[in-house]
């Protein structure tokens, strides 16, 4: 029945391509809308909390006259909606503004940081994916076996350990005791790519540990519930090899939730990265974001938040496309 229906759609090519395009257009619009909403919320959040960029910049030497002059210079004297629309127009014309804290164009300021953070996130994503998918399937076998509780306990433990704690442990163990890298001395990504890679690898592992444990758990429960389904039981009762069914059918069906979960992981990695960058002394977006929030450096915070929103939405989009390749039934899911 399943095969029959997919063949039926495959024969009808035109509407499928049309649906595909329509869903893509809708996706792109959603992406834009998400970014605009997120940027608006960020802007509004700064309106609500106390602290003013001009006051933060002038510090203890602020006088009302100096604050007023600086606010005028930064364009902060305009009302909130005007400022937001100004920023939005600048954003769409490719002008992210000038950082208050560094007097440098925001694009120029964040480009090298983005590079580092992107490397860190992709690296930990690769680690999570390569380890958790096979491990999840394998740990299904173990749970069924005698020593299941060891895996469950270890899994719980790894999930619960906060990243800053593992970060300090890894820095101490591999950095101070074993000297595998030098915490606090991040090599330039272009001058010493190998050294930078090594440094990033330890940080990436630190981000990956709790997420890997979560993905393994998710993968395992998906496989378990899938194995209990009728088609699996039927296949096995017909004399098929259990291992063969697992790898040939169950795995493919378990991949859809896994891909969705990994897309959420992409977002989590970025959040974890903010903490880990601080611990490992990696000059990435996370550190800049934290510093910019406390300095009330609006243009930088806005730019980074929009990039992060883009990243998260993009991950979701990629997950949907991959899932559609894995399971053709999903292709029309959104259209009808």
């Amino acid at each position: 029945m399943l095969r029959g229906s997919s063949r039926q759609y495959a024969a009808d090519v035109v509407p499928e391509a049309y649906c595909y395009m329509r869903s893509t257009v809708r996706r792109v619009l959603m992406l834009l809308a998400t970014m605009i909403i997120v940027s608006f919320l960020t802007y509004a959040a700064f309106e609500l909390i106390s602290g003013d960029p001009a006051e933060a910049m002038l510090g203890t030497q602020a006088t009302p006259a100096r604050i007023a002059a600086l606010r005028r210079e930064l364009g902060l004297d305009a009302p909130f909606p005007v400022r937001y629309i100004r920023w939005l127009l600048g954003f769409f014309s490719g002008d992210l503004g000038v950082s208050y804290s560094y007097k440098q164009p925001v694009g120029e300021l964040i480009a090298p940081k983005l590079e580092v953070t992107l490397c860190l996130c992709l690296l930990s994503f690769v680690i999570i994916t390569l380890i958790s998918i096979p491990l999840g399937v394998l740990s299904y076998q173990q749970v069924v076996g005698r020593f299941g509780w060891i895996h469950t306990t270890l899994n719980q433990l790894l999930m619960a350990v906060p990243a800053f704690f593992t970060g300090i442990l890894i820095s101490w163990g591999f950095g101070i005791v074993l000297r595998a890298f030098t915490p606090g001395d991040f090599p330039d990504l272009h001058m010493d790519p190998a050294g930078a890679f090594r440094h990033l690898l330890f940080a990436a592992v630190c981000i990956a540990i709790p997420r890997t444990a979560m993905t393994v758990r998710m993968m395992r429960s998906t496989v378990i519930s899938e194995m209990e389904k009728d088609y699996v039981q039927t296949a096995i009762s017909r004399g098929n090899d259990r291992q063969g069914v697992l790898l040939g059918h169950v795995l493919k069906n378990s991949l859809v939730p896994a891909v969705t979960f990994l897309a959420q992981t992409m977002a989590e990695i970025v959040a974890g990265g903010i903490v880990v960058e601080q611990v490992f002394g990696i000059p990435g977006l996370g550190r800049l974001l934290v510093a910019s929030i406390s300095n009330r450096d609006y243009p930088v915070v806005q730019a980074i938040v929009v990039i992060l929103a883009f990243w998260v939405v993009l991950a979701g989009l990629a997950a949907d496309l991959i899932n559609q390749c894995i399971d053709p039934r999903l292709r029309l899911g959104g259209g009808s």
Partner: protein, 537 residues
């Protein structure tokens, strides 16, 4: 059999997870071995694969001494502008002290010594200052320092055409003239502290990139800056004075306190200032020296004198009798720190009145009596607002909150971000009490005391005393230095007697220096002079 292979694979996964990339090869061996023994070879493999990098890292360390460089860890990034005339943060001044100089500059004893000027003479009436410019002083861009640059730099700070001048005290200049290499500055009224304002940096007049690529005359020149990452300075070879001891200084920023400790331990950093006693115990004595200076600030529980119940002097005094300064220093700082009794610290020398430190000794019954007299026999509830980015202030607040329980005062600690502190507490004065350290940007007693004049723009504690205001007027009008000093000390006593704030201490500044690096010098200012640091032969 199948299970064994799977167990092996699982062990492989776990090993990779724990040891990541560097364990790839040994992990393959693990698969061949049985699952039971997997732990041991993996552990061996880890130390094997890591050993060569350990050697290279150690080589790097000797490398920095060999290439005559140092790396200094700092806890925050610099100001948005590196223009010294616009510098706001103490942390920026601390670094850029090595790049800029004024006509005069402070020495480690707190005296002013000639820098861009070769000498200075003051007329008998204290109105005319004559500076002779030093021969052959160059800017970092290679240009010689001219009279035009000097006059431009002073005028820029004295200019009040757009409201307030950058250095308000300079508005007392009535005339600036020059003859050959002599600069004559005439004041409208004498000012004993005038010279200390001329530590302002001399900058090239026709240079407009001071914000991002600063140029000065100091022993180090600015090379580069990476946001939230590092600042690089290099020795200026054409410096007129004693050349710097190292070729290159890299300041590395780590806003995470743990990061600074790890950086020292890993060899990434050689010097870190402003450490706490709990941090230094994590460092090996064989690798580092710890030198103790003072932070040169007044840490106190600052009270909003306009806010109930602190508008009553008896309540403020009660708090002073209830707080045990030495107890705070012992509990939160392992005994490091100098107790204080007023808004002045020992580095100010003759202005500092030591007798005020013990004006209030712990006396719970007296404190309770004062509270009862003020109408609070059962104590009251209060809030201490603390900037959360600085742990020592948070620790102090905790100890004080505990101590205040003894007189029935329930203190709640409210941690806030620095930016919120600036706008709510410092500018907005919307708070009840706050725990911070206050210092002076210039080494002048008036910079410390002026803020408590009732009309002062930065009187964030709303202190209001007619006697105090009158004393300040008298001090300003006083031409005789000795007499003026006495008036300033009188003002300090006024603050203590009226319990303007609950004074605690001048905090200890613990500086960690890698063994082999010599020449650390403390100043009575919040600066780190890297030009005197050098590696031992």
């Amino acid at each position: 059999m199948k299970k064994r292979i799977l167990a092996g694979l699982l062990a492989l996964g776990m090993t990779v997870l724990a040891l990541n990339g560097c364990a790839k090869k040994p992990a393959a061996e693990t698969t061949a071995a049985s699952a039971e023994t997997s732990a041991a070879p993996a552990a061996n493999a880890a130390s094997e694969s890591v050993a060569p990098t350990a050697a290279s890292s150690a080589g790097q360390k000797t490398g920095r001494a060999a290439s005559n460089e140092i790396a200094v860890g700092i806890a925050q990034d610099l100001d948005e502008s590196l223009d010294p005339h616009l510098t706001v943060a103490a942390g920026t001044r601390e670094v850029m002290f090595n790049v800029f100089e004024g006509l005069v500059k402070p020495d480690p004893d707190g005296n002013l010594i000639p820098a861009v000027a070769a000498d200075v003479a003051v007329s008998d009436d204290g109105l005319v200052y004559t500076f002779t410019l030093r021969e052959g002083v160059k800017f970092h861009n290679g240009d010689p320092v001219t009279m035009e640059d000097v006059i431009w730099s002073i005028r820029r700070n004295a200019d009040d055409s757009e409201g307030e001048a950058l250095v308000p005290a300079l508005t007392s200049i009535s005339d600036i003239t020059s003859e050959d290499n002599k600069l004559l500055i005439t004041l409208s009224e004498p000012n004993n502290e005038f010279l200390s304002y001329l530590t302002l940096a001399i900058l090239p007049a026709d240079y407009d990139k001071q914000d991002t690529a600063p140029v000065g005359t100091g022993p180090f020149r600015f090379v580069s800056r990476k946001a939230q990452d590092s600042i690089v300075l290099e020795r200026f070879d054409d410096y007129w004075g004693e050349p710097a001891g190292v070729d290159r200084v890299t300041y590395k920023i780590s806003e995470n306190a743990e990061g600074l400790i790890l950086g020292l331990q890993s060899g990434a950093l050689d010097v870190v200032s402003h450490m706490t006693s709990t941090q230094i115990v994590q460092l090996k004595e064989s690798e580092f020296n710890v030198e103790e200076g003072t932070m040169n600030l007044v840490q106190a529980l600052y009270l909003n004198n306009a806010e109930k119940p602190f508008d009553d002097v008896r309540v403020r005094q009660a708090l002073c009798y209830a707080v045990d300064k030495q107890g705070v220093i012992d509990m939160a700082f392992d005994g490091y720190g100098v107790p204080l009794g007023s808004s002045m610290y020992p580095a100010f020398g003759k202005y500092f009145d030591e007798s005020l430190t013990d004006y209030y000794t712990v006396d719970i019954s007296k404190a309770k009596a004062l509270l009862a007299e003020a109408g609070y026999p059962n104590g009251f509830e209060m809030t201490i607002t603390v900037p959360s980015n600085y742990q020592p202030h948070m620790d102090t607040a905790q100890v004080i909150a505990e101590q205040l329980k003894s007189i029935g005062v329930k203190a709640t600690i409210q941690p806030v971000e620095w930016a919120s502190w600036l706008s709510d507490v410092y500018s907005g004065r919307k708070y009840q009490s706050t725990l911070v350290g206050v210092d002076a940007s210039e080494m002048t007693a008036s910079a410390m005391l002026k803020r408590f004049v009732s009309t002062a723009g930065n009187n964030f504690v709303n202190y209001s005393s007619a006697d105090y205001d009158a004393l300040y007027e008298k001090a300003l009008a006083c031409a005789d230095d000795a007499e003026q000093t006495l008036i300033f000390r009188e003002m300090e006593k006024n603050l203590t007697e009226n319990a303007a704030n609950v004074y605690i201490q001048d905090m200890a500044d613990l500086v960690v220096v890698r063994k082999g690096l010599e020449g650390l010098t403390f100043y009575p200012l919040y600066v780190l002079d890297v030009s005197r640091l050098h590696w031992a032969e």
